[in-house]
């Protein structure tokens, strides 16, 4: 029953999310809206990603519930948020950003030239749309569907807070593993059942791979002016972003209100009280430290794996294994992974250290950065390693001198993605944090147990702000990776002989052999 519910709500949710994400991503590539507008929209759509998933359920209750912000503004409740519809909406909000990011990036590799070919061949607008946008994206659409499906299929936070009578398999797992009587044995049985769809997912991905094709090159062209088209998309963006804002606005209001919704008086008391707690500082530092370390280690892991896959001569089996690994870590519920780590590392020296948290996070956030870097590694020149070898480099040396510098912009994207994810994930690490290794998200979970919602929101905002800053910095670095290069050269020319040789040339070389 709960399994059927899970499939129904996750399936429908994934369908809606993919359609919506597709429309949003399409508009950013195929309209002539001002570039500034587009870049703002692009960030706003993924804003929910910067908040801990735990807050989504709250946000929905406090905005669309009986006493919610939206309900109060409109004057009556739009629909009952408990059960199917609440889940559906929260899941869509939850999975829209990652699905959007996936599709948005994939559109970059679609040759826009074909729009003209299609139009000039007399295609109807619908057929042009299909042949130039949908058809080339089928593989990615499937991937986005799977991603979205599993995110909601394995999430228990949202159904726990607004699932109502609509039981899903993830909450069952939650109740068995973490309920009144923890039962890890039955829990693992449910977890195994939950893994079955990932087999289907791997198959689906392999199947849609057949539809994939590569364009020889990616040409851009000047889009025709079309006020109707641009206006339509502008409206879509405004509506979607307004909806996201309306639902999350409450999070930015509650911390400044004495007691929502009974004493709506502005106060910074709550904020002061919560932030004056000395332990917050430690926990915040821990969080940033863990997220930063996870970002670095996760990036290195994903990079190495992708190198093996995209640029090594290892047998195909290794590469397939790598892909399967990437897929599976994405489909295992975080809670199961956390409990697995708990059992695996009990009694080992890394128990109750930051290392285990970082390791767990790195494994959990493997898939997306892996896919990101793999795409860009397989696009860059295949002759560089050979050239490097002919110039006397070892393979590793070429990797460091050439391959990595030329994928720097993707590396920055990976770093910021993993950092943000590590800041917001909860379900996996909750089991492996110890007394001295608490992070923000576990603190938030506690606040939730103790009914301190204002604290939940304040801490979430802190995470949110941190993520925004990180995102902005890394986006900037990513689009200006030559700046990094420039700074590096400056440093090298200021310090050391080694630098001088590399930069200024041959001053130090012996005159003759």
């Amino acid at each position: 029953m709960s399994l059927r519910n899970s499939f129904a709500v996750s399936g429908l949710e994934a369908f809606i999310t993919v359609v919506l994400a597709f429309v949003l991503a399409y508009g950013l590539h195929y309209t002539k809206l001002p570039e500034k507008f587009k870049s703002v929209v692009q960030i706003l759509i993924i804003l929910p990603m910067f908040l801990p998933t735990l807050t989504y359920g709250f946000a929905v209750i406090y905005s669309l519930g009986k006493q919610g912000l939206i309900t109060q503004i409109i004057g009556h409740q739009l629909f009952s948020i408990y059960g199917f519809w609440g889940l559906l909406i929260s899941y869509v909000i939850y999975t829209l950003p990652p699905a959007f990011v996936l599709l948005y990036n994939a559109f970059k590799y679609v040759d826009k030239h074909f729009i003209i070919v299609s139009q000039i061949m007399g295609d109807s607008p619908l057929r042009t749309f299909y042949i130039t946008s949908v058809r080339p994206m089928i593989g990615t659409i499937a991937a986005a569907f799977i991603l979205s499906f599993f995110l909601s299929f394995t999430d228990f936070g949202i159904p726990a807070s607004i699932g109502g009578q609509y039981t899903v398999v993830a909450t069952q797992l939650y109740m068995v593993m973490m309920g009144a009587v923890p039962d890890f044995q039955s829990g693992s049985a449910i977890a195994v059942i939950m893994l079955i769809p990932s087999i289907v997912a791997v198959w689906l991905l392999r199947f849609t791979e057949r539809f994939n094709f590569r364009y020889n090159k990616i040409s851009t062209f000047e889009l025709a002016d079309d006020k109707v088209r641009d206006g339509f998309f502008a409206a879509v963006y405004v509506v979607v972003i307004a909806a996201i804002f309306a639902i999350f606005a409450i999070m930015f209001i509650v911390p400044f209100i004495k007691s929502w919704p009974y004493q709506v008086v502005f106060t910074t008391e709550t904020l002061q009280r919560i932030l004056s707690d000395r332990s917050i500082e430690t926990v915040y530092t821990n969080s940033v430290m863990v997220a930063a370390a996870t970002a670095v280690i996760g990036t290195v892991l994903a990079y190495m794996a992708a190198l093996v896959n995209a640029r090594s001569q290892l047998p195909g089996v290794c590469k397939m294994l790598m892909d399967a690994c990437a897929m599976v870590t994405n489909t295992v519920p975080g809670m199961v992974l956390g409990v697995a780590f708990l059992f695996a590392f009990t009694g080992s020296p890394i128990q109750n250290t930051f290392i285990i948290i970082i390791l767990l996070n790195s494994v959990r956030e493997f898939t997306t950065p892996y896919l990101m870097i793999q795409a860009s590694l397989s696009k860059i020149n295949m002759s560089w390693e050979t050239t490097g070898a002919l110039m006397g480099d070892s393979w590793l040396k070429t990797i460091f001198r050439v391959i990595i510098p030329n994928t720097m912009s993707t590396v920055f994207q990976m770093l910021s993605y993993i950092f943000i994810q590590a800041m917001v994930t909860i379900s996996a690490i909750i089991f492996v944090t110890g007394a001295r290794t608490m992070v923000m998200t576990t603190k938030i979970t506690q606040a939730q147990y103790f009914e301190k919602y204002d604290e939940v929101f304040v801490l979430s905002l802190l995470i949110f702000l941190t993520n925004i800053i990180v995102k902005v910095i890394f986006d900037y670095l990513s689009s200006h990776d030559d700046i990094v290069l420039h700074v590096k050269q400056k440093f090298q020319s200021i310090f050391g002989k080694e630098a001088k040789r590399q930069n200024a040339g041959l001053e130090d070389l012996p005159e003759r052999i």
């Binding site: 074909f114 070919v117 139009q119 057929r127 042949i131 094709f213 364009y215 025709a224």
Partner: protein
């Protein structure tokens, strides 16, 4: 008859095409020649209607097309990179347009065209299985099936082998004659431009450097640019080939032995 009157095209205040006026007769083959960045592709795009004009007029058979959208102009293009749909077979690509305008070409006409372009053996192949020359011909067939009023070609030959190149040139000439098709070809190879077309338009920095018959361009180059850019290339080629066919006159060969 296609008339361009004082055509101006700017991108963000940067003038790319500057006061281009010319007339192309029906059935004529025109080559556009010029250095990289000279505005060749832009001029093609303007005629096709991909990109709007910044100034001037475009007339076809006296009708002003300056504001008519691309789809309604009835011109067609073969892109330099062919832009064949990679998910369809060669044949599906060729008859792609017929789905939208079923009456435009009969089955026999398509078969004729396939035969004319020597594609019989390749129609069932996927695009990735075709050689460069074959792709080129499929792209040409796909466009010709649509019976365009004017055929535009962007660097159609630059990626091809010498032998294939000649055969495609021959085919373009045959088709232009057979269908009385006005054809405009962008290229950067003077030999190609001068041997293929009735008249050659040389663009430099967005302006017309010369628009004349090959004969006149070779024997009466209008300025130094034409002499240097066009003629010196040809002369080097001529010298190379003269030497090759002169027995024992190969300097490189002599040095080695």
């Amino acid at each position: 008859m296609l008339e361009l009157k004082h055509i101006v095209k700017k991108y963000d205040e940067k003038v790319i095409l500057n006061d281009i006026s010319l007339t192309v007769e029906d059935g004529e083959i025109i080559s556009i020649l010029g250095p990289s960045g000279g505005g060749k592709t832009t001029l093609l795009n303007v005629i096709l209607g991909i990109t709007p004009l910044s100034g001037g007029q475009l007339l076809y058979k006296g009708e002003d097309l300056s504001r008519v959208p691309m789809q309604k102009r009835g011109f067609n293009i073969v892109f330099q990179d062919y832009a064949l749909f990679p998910n369809l077979t060669a044949y599906q690509n060729i008859v792609y347009g017929l789905r939208n305008k079923p009456g435009i070409a009969t089955k026999e006409e398509v078969a004729d065209l396939i035969r004319l372009l020597d594609l019989q053996d390749h129609v069932d192949k996927r695009i990735s299985q075709l050689s460069g020359g074959q792709k080129q011909r499929v792209a040409l067939a796909r466009t010709l099936v649509m019976k365009p009023k004017i055929l535009l070609l962007d660097e159609p030959l630059s990626a091809l082998d010498g032998v294939i190149k000649e055969s495609i040139k021959e085919r373009i000439r045959t088709i232009a004659k057979q269908y009385h098709l006005t054809t405009i070809i962008v290229t950067h190879d003077p030999e190609e431009a001068l041997t293929l077309s009735h008249r050659v338009l040389i663009l430099n920095g967005g302006k017309i450097a010369q628009f004349d018959t090959p004969d006149n361009i070779i024997h009466a180059p209008k300025d130094d640019f034409i002499k240097k850019f066009i003629l010196s290339q040809l002369q080097i080629k001529r010298d190379n080939i003269y030497k090759l066919f002169e027995p024992g006159a190969m300097p490189a060969a002599r040095q080695a032995q």
